[in-house]
Amino acid sequence: MNPILLEAVLVCYAFLLLLVEAFNSRMPRRYFGWAAVVGTTVVFFMTFFVDSSKMNPEAGYYGFYAADTLAILFKRFILLVSVCVLIMAIEFAPVLVRYLPVEKPDAGSGEMYSLVLFACAGMMWMASAQNFVMIFVSVELVTITFYVMVAMMRGNRASLEAGIKFLILGAIATSLNVYGIAWIFGTLGTTELPEIGAILQSIDSSLFPSLLFGFGLIFAGISFKVAAFPFQFWVPDVYQGAPTPVTAFLSVGSKASAFVVLMRVLESMLSNSELSSKILFMLSLVAGVTILMGNLSAIPQTNFKRLLAYSSIAHAGYLLMGAASIVSGNSGPAIAYYLMAYLISNMLAFGVLLVVGKSTGSDELVHFNGLGKKSPWLATALTLAVLSLAGLPFTVGFFGKFFIFSSALQAQQFILVGIGILGIGCGFYYYLKVIRAMFWLPASKEQSISSPIEISKPYAVMLILLSISLIIFGVYPEPIFNLIP
């Protein structure tokens, strides 16, 4: 099967859902969510039958679209994230609708599902993008979809403000990115990454200032997507204000696809050792600052969603640490594995956060007090999730940290490793704060009256599957590792 069909099928399906949704106002909107889940799952299974030799270079690909193992791996990854996000969105729909001016009780939630599908297609294109033009358009598709999704709860001020902040900073990042691409194009005369790599091999060092200028701007644009240092300050506000499924999508899917882009750009630059050493130095600087920034600012947080936002900055730092150690040769698999681990644990954390937030009406950490008594299963799942985020053994997060740090040590990034250890120490502090809230602290008065948290069956199945895979891959990482090229 031609790999290009994956995105085509997904986009057409999303469009179909949108049409049916527009012309059939009687069908419950929940059905569209499940239809989207089914469609995404089908596309996920389609990825196992793709054959990149079927690609016709003349038919509009022209070096835009790569279907190598890395791309396919990340397409699967993103599809899985989307399935989780869709299930979360179905669970979240009543909360979403509360903030919308609607005629019927569940109107307005249907658009959410098709937007998730469009964003998913955009991320899949990002994973395949091999040309700066393609990178630009696919990144913009994802970003613009997220602008809408973040501001979706339009009766809620927090959501709108998050939308505005995200929009303005995102637009700045876009213009930096575009300006950088313009400079790279002007200096090298091409926007294709493999060709850039070939040209860079034998380039005059007088061009370095303009290349560094261009790449620097492009990295600034990418760092917005991965939530790294110079462009990390939108993260806490946007994460807190956005609807929880969107936050989860933003923190995992968007970050993962941006990392593929980063890896591809870095790969094309590696052919010139002098240039790449300069860029890698810059990158390790950014990684160090990001780790410190994320971890230190997470410590005083009292809102769980905000805490997860800062922790996601910190994780971006560890991932960048892996990217900065790309000379060690095995940091690609390390990053991929780390992202997988991050997917499982972060989705689990947001999954529990969503239901707790839905039943208590707030994401504050105080509302997790006594959860261990009230609903022990949810508490166990959340414990597993934060332990995995902290990188404790026998959870999947441990092997993520293990691979990242071993590749950083191999690349002789000792200062970065030291900063990483410091960050992990801080990390333990704030992740344990969550566990403390659930198990040590008694529930407050108003809490103990409210009935135990109810969750729908499919949602519970999703949480259980995530928890089980978190432990299984924490003990036996080979299945994931074998997927990675």
């Binding site: 053994p393 026998f394 250890i421 502090y429 198990f439 990482p477 590792f481």
Partner: protein, 506 residues
């Protein structure tokens, strides 16, 4: 599949059953702990009959998790790990049988307890450095939860401190382990402890200095070496007694085990080079902490400090285990006296501190206080308690006949002879000073025994029926520990026959 897998699985399954059915958790815990002890004792008997000496690795089993990266889960048992496993299973048994169950969330309590036990047993059954580390970490969060929920005193602050401290130390340790790993050539990457030592001896494994520093700092902080000991006393004092038994008795030996197994044979030169620094830190452990112990006015805090202090002797054994050849030339041999002494002392200290923590837990439940000023005369009201307390105290201060005595003696002899031929060298001076630590520990140990068990019974408890003596099963569990301490004390050569070949084989 190795029976050691069943041992670990038994503990994990017990833990899961306890979590899942809180109603029958108590019964499950009693059965599980008895079963694991019986299972291990039979494994040990088979081992004793089947092997020549302790050097042989028995019940070996490997699960190749990531074969191309050398990540393998390896289990096995040689003489040294057999003794540590014996300690672990004994203390687990006693921790369940000899301590009071909590009033609320019994299932959660025993589930966490068995998770710690599984971590401990798994760590000592591993032949592989990575899984040795991983199993140790398994105990971290249950400890955090248990101190925080069922602890006493300033439990929240203490739980917080100990967890962050240990997590950070173990991450430093992980970096050290990774340092060993990445300095191997790509084809021979492994975490196997014996393989690493072999590769180091054959010169394939060349490690820079920072690896040694990281490993040493990591293991040292986990064992509460002098400047990094501050987490330990409070943690043991505030933890519920079962956790204190497992943690002080067994889990803390993890660092020593790693030092003996890995650091010592891979870094003989560094051990020798930094030996003097280490000796000074050890004297800090013995005297600085020793005096702090004397100043304690509560039984639990005193026990916590004393456990830190006794680590000094074991460290002395490790520090003096590398002896330079008289002819010089930069080569070393391993000193069997120090090694054996350190090994015996690890076992002995684990047993004696477990006895004392079990008893202090029982006492706390009856009196709700452990201030020496409010205690007294317990030996009269509770004779069995008094007798066992005496046994524990005597064992802990190293009276002849108990295991601690033989261990300390061996360590002192070994350390005295370690410095080479020169008269009054650094090792001899340090040993001569360290011997006085025995006096310090005798002072605080006997004083605490007197304050607790002799003298006037305070008025509050005269005629009260709260001070009932130990129950049968509690006495039974503690007596088993005492018997094993006496066994090693009277017949150390049997244990040394297991220990020394295992340690020298590397």
């Amino acid at each position: 599949m190795s029976p050691l897998v069943f041992l670990i699985l038994l503990l994990i399954l017990t833990s899961i059953f306890c979590y899942l059915s809180p109603a029958s958790a108590r019964r499950t815990a009693f059965m599980g702990s008895a079963l694991q002890l019986i299972l291990f004792l039979s494994l040990l008997l088979i081992y004793l009959f089947r092997v020549e000496d302790g050097a042989e690795v028995f019940y070996g089993w490997k699960w190749e998790l990531l074969p191309e990266l050398g990540v393998v889960m390896g289990l096995g048992m040689d003489g040294f790990s057999a003794i540590m496993l014996l300690l672990a299973t004994l203390v687990t048994f006693a921790a369940v049988w000899a301590t009071p169950a909590p009033e609320r969330s019994v299932g959660f309590y025993y589930g966490n307890l068995f998770l710690i036990a599984a971590g401990v047993v798994g760590a000592f059954a591993s032949t592989d450095l990575l899984f040795f580390y991983l199993f140790h970490e398994l105990a971290l969060i249950p400890t955090f939860l248990m101190i925080g929920i069922w602890g006493t005193g300033d439990k929240h602050r203490v739980a917080w401190k100990v967890t962050i401290y240990l997590a950070l130390a173990s991450f430093v340790l992980l970096i050290g382990i990774l340092g060993l790993y990445i300095n191997l050539p790509e084809i021979s990457r492994t975490f196997g402890m014996r393989e690493l030592v072999d590769l180091a001896n054959s010169g394939v494994l060349q490690t820079p200095d920072w690896v040694f520093v990281m490993l040493f700092l990591g293991f040292g902080a986990l064992v509460s070496l002098f400047p990094f000991h501050t987490w330990a006393p409070g943690a043991y004092a505030c933890a519920p007694s079962s956790v204190a038994m497992l943690h002080a008795g067994v889990l803390k030996k993890f660092g020593l085990y790693g030092l003996l197994r890995v650091v010592l044979p891979i870094f003989p030169h560094e051990m020798q080079e930094y030996g003097h620094v280490l000796l000074i830190l050890i004297l800090g452990n013995i005297f600085f902490v020793g005096y702090a112990t004397m100043a304690q006015r509560r039984l639990d805090w005193m026990l916590g400090y004393s456990s830190v202090m006794h680590m000094g002797y074991i460290f002395l054994g490790i520090a003096s285990a590398m002896v330079p050849f008289a002819g010089g030339g930069g080569s070393y041999y391993l000193n069997p006296l120090s090694l054996g002494g350190a090994g015996i002392l690890m076992f002995a200290h684990g047993i004696s501190i477990a006895i004392l923590f079990a008893l202090s837990g029982q006492l706390r439940r009856r009196t709700a206080t452990l201030e020496f000023s409010e205690l007294g005369g317990m030996g009269k009201t509770m004779p069995a308690f008094g007798l066992l307390m005496g046994m524990g105290t005597f064992a802990s201060i190293g009276l002849p006949g108990f295991a601690n005595f033989s261990g300390e003696l061996l360590v002192f002899f070994g350390a005295f002879g370690s410095g080479g031929a020169q008269f009054l060298n650094f090792y001899q001076i340090a040993t001569a000073i360290a011997v006085w630590g025995v006096v310090v520990s005798a002072i605080y140990g006997l004083r605490a025994y007197r304050w607790t068990c002799f003298g006037e019974t305070p008025e509050r408890w005269v005629g009260s029926n709260e001070l009932v003596d130990l129950r049968g099963r509690e006495k039974f569990a503690i007596w088993i520990l005492v018997v094993f301490s006496l066994l090693v004390g009277f017949w150390p050569q049997g244990f040394l026959k297991l220990l020394i070949p295992a340690l020298l084989a590397q």
